[in-house]
Amino acid sequence: MSGPRTLPVGEHALLVELDSAEATGALHAELLRRRATGTLPPLREIVPAARTVLLDGVADPAALAAQLTTWHIPPLEADVRETVEIPVRYDGPDLADVAALWQVSEQEAVRVHSAAEFRVAFCGFAPGFAYLTGLGERYAVPRRATPRTAVPAGSVALAGPYTGVYPRSSPGGWQLIGSTDAALWDPHREPAALLTPGTRVRFVPRVAR
């Protein structure tokens, strides 16, 4: 395995680039472990994304980049966390289109989605909006040709290789396959986001009303 590539970002940040989502998740988990044990230099933000982890607010990015190359990073499986279960009504307006793209029946599409084990790869787009990986490559779908001006809060949606749940109503171009009443975002909760990077997630079917 090739080591991570580090790219300087301005004077106080570092972008660490990896070659897979798994390696990115593993580095992120290692960074959190090191921060928890006080063996990471002080920094302001650790922001995982698709193939990178951004380290922002670092006093000496070059020294941290050098330190990173000496780390042994255990594989992601070692990061055992409780699974968050999200109840879903698979009643989304794009479920039929997604099933057609997958070349399966709607019932089979629901079975595939609710059987998958997801992991929060990263958050972005809006507070508490998580990009979940876990569906196989063959289930990747394009965004809608025309984005919706308002996607309801709680919509469970697909785009590219990701599943996401809209924390609040917003414009969006993802394929809507279902809906949930789960509180994705609550600023009075710690953490405010239900789905934080690294969290394991399963979707549990509920009968549509």
């Binding site: 970002v9 301005g10 951004l54 990263f122 958050c123 972005g124 507070p127």
Partner: protein, 289 residues
């Protein structure tokens, strides 16, 4: 609400509560937000004896007017503008004692864009994730000011102000932003940095608290395809498909999928916050090529 409060007489074009921003939540998709001209906001707080991170009002171009219910010391910094107390001129950039019920008016900026109005004790709206800042991208924090709104004020500290007068900022005819190349400079043609450095840019009227947009020569990509979403920093110079660089300001998204050709150092962003649409803009690359 107690009488330690102010009512909004004239909200102005876009007046927001801002402090030093929301930090440590970027991994949840929470923008940093905070005062766009942070040194000016900090100075306003010093002038009224507050901690530098107290919440202030950030106005946009045409100021605002408020009526504190009790006597309070205020100060205006940032974009220079007339300041009045019940219609009588008072000092900009200095502590002003406001008697109960008097109207403090921050006038239209004579140059620059954003003025800062600090109150001894600070604006005491409920913090969200540790900050009172209004984040226009994600909607966190208090709503933007409306005529007739009432905002709570905090209890003033017992300390004396450490500064009693501030110089008005100079008048830059041209905005010059240093740019440290990377992390995705290699996504652009070999001459892109030279185009950026030599190009005559202007501040676009589409600029806002999320990003300073530019008009000028387009930067061309050497690579096709899409960059997977990655974390974004304050000052990132992101280049969307039209090739016109956008400099990320306080309300920028935490991740993005357009390549970043370079990063503007934070000290230069206060000037960017005060650059009105149409201001000539020049980029000055620094550091390694």
């Amino acid at each position: 609400m107690s009488d330690r409060a102010l009512s909004v007489v004239r909200a102005g074009a876009l007046t927001l509560v801002q402090d030093e921003g929301r930090h440590g939540h970027a991994h949840l998709g929470v923008p940093r937000s905070g005062a766009l001209d942070l040194p000016a906001a900090r100075l306003a707080n010093r002038l009224v004896g507050n901690a530098v991170g107290a919440a202030v009002l950030e106005t946009t171009l045409n100021g605002c007017a408020v009526r504190p219910r009790r006597a309070v010391t205020v100060a205006v910094t940032g974009a220079p503008c007339p300041v009045t107390l019940d219609g009588r001129p008072v000092a900009w950039g200095a502590p002003v004692r406001v008697p109960p019920g008097a109207v403090v008016e921050v006038g239209a900026a004579t140059r620059g864009v954003r003025s800062y109005l600090a109150f001894a004790g600070g604006v005491a709206v409920e913090p969200v994730l540790g900050s009172r800042s209004t984040d226009l991208l994600s909607g966190l924090g208090p709503p933007l000011l409306r005529d007739g709104a009432v905002l709570p004020l905090g209890r003033p500290a017992d300390t004396c102000p450490r500064v009693d007068e501030a110089p008005a900022p100079g008048v830059p005819e041209e905005l010059v932003l240093r740019v440290r190349p990377g992390p995705r400079a290699d996504w652009f043609t070999a001459d892109a940095l030279a185009v950026l450095a030599g190009g005559r840019y202007r501040v676009s009227s589409a600029s806002n608290r999320i990003g300073l947009r530019t008009e000028g020569p387009a930067l061309r990509r050497a690579r096709k395809g899409e960059l997977p979403s990655e974390g974004m920093v304050l000052g990132a110079v992101q280049v969307p498909p039209d090739g016109r660089p956008v400099i990320f300001l306080a309300d920028h998204p935490t991740t993005g999928g357009y390549p970043v050709i370079g990063v503007v150092p934070e000290p230069d962003l206060a000037a960017a916050a005060q650059a009105a649409p149409g201001t000539p803009l020049r980029f000055a690359p620094v550091g390694r090529p």
